[in-house]
């Protein structure tokens, strides 16, 4: 396993791995998404307090968790790129940013849509919501900084430092509902979270589907990024010629 990971430092091997992984992520993602949506929208019963409005949590909670997970992956990959100068780690960090931003947008939008019927407001300057909005700004800042340099290595170095500094926001988001008296409800998963087995299954299915979606999008986007970075290599020329013929 360790040797397999080490081999991924080679752009050509990493590109081929991404190519191979795409169908392995795509079909389980589609299957879990369909089953997960059916479980979320049909099988799960209505909540005794929130009625059917609670069904938004089946996309809101996985997206919110993924928005933080992807940021952590981005910062760790950025650190690996900084410390060990592994270019493929820089690629993973770079392509993760727009995906993480997408998950954050979904978490914020679905949270606002859920908030209107439950709280009577689309938005409140609550600690959880504000720290999640800060996370979106961190993603946007990372992407802006990364695209501000012509040299991809320099861009990766500067943006990785920003990603590492921004890590401080993750525990703030996670513990905000404990540290402050927030309007946002407590944890939806674990102690004090949802109790109904069908709701738990639906949430688990949607969570795994979200992880697969992230892995799939990283594999797709990383292929493009490797081709751009390694465009002067002989194998990229041969690959492009074979794909375009």
């Amino acid at each position: 396993m360790w040797k397999w990971i080490q081999r991924q430092a080679s752009p050509k091997v990493f590109y081929q791995t991404c190519n191979r992984l795409v169908p392995w992520f795509f079909w389980p993602f589609i299957t879990l998404l369909i089953v997960g949506l059916y479980w979320s929208l049909v099988i799960s019963p209505a909540d005794y307090q929130q009625g059917d409005g609670y069904r938004i949590i089946f996309i809101h909670v996985p997206s919110a968790i993924l928005s933080m997970m992807v940021y952590a992956v981005m910062a760790i990959a950025g650190s690996i790129g900084l410390i060990w100068q592994i270019k493929m780690a820089e690629v993973v960090a770079k392509v993760s940013a727009p995906i993480g931003a997408g998950f954050t947008v979904i978490a914020l939008a679905t949270g606002a849509i859920w908030g209107k019927p439950m709280w009577g407001a689309w938005w409140v300057w609550d600690a959880r919501l504000t720290s999640e909005l800060v996370l979106l700004f961190l993603y946007l800042a990372y992407m802006s900084l990364n695209s501000a340099f012509d040299n991809p290595r320099t861009a990766a170095k500067s943006s990785s430092i920003l990603a590492i500094v921004g890590l401080i926001n993750l525990p703030i988001i996670h513990y905000s509902v404990k540290w402050w008296n927030t309007l946002h409800q407590g944890y939806s998963v674990g102690t004090g979270g949802i109790k109904d087995p069908n709701m738990q299954i639906a949430l688990a299915l949607m969570f795994v589907a979200s992880i697969l979606l992230y892995a799939l999008l990283v594999s797709i986007k990383a292929r493009t990024e490797v081709l751009i970075r390694e465009q002067n290599s002989r194998w990229v020329e041969e690959e492009v010629r074979s794909l375009m013929s």
């Binding site: 929208l41 009625g51 809101h60 997408g102 979904i106 679905t110 019927p117 986007k221 794909l243 375009m244």
Partner: protein, 56 residues
């Protein structure tokens, strides 16, 4: 008539507008991510192909 009342014929009644809006926004975001990734990949292949044909 409000949007909430207008969409109340859909499953989930008075919450239908909010539930379907949330799922719709999420679907749109995910589709945009896929579409952007695919467009970038095709554009990259096209520009690299042009570059290599100029060099030859």
């Amino acid at each position: 008539m409000t949007m909430v009342e207008f969409f109340s014929f859909l499953p989930y009644g008075k919450y239908a507008f909010y539930v379907w809006l949330a799922y719709g926004v999420s679907a749109l975001t995910i589709i945009t991510l896929f579409a952007t990734a695919r467009r970038n990949h095709l554009n990259t292949l096209s520009s690299l192909s042009n570059k290599y044909s100029r060099i030859k």
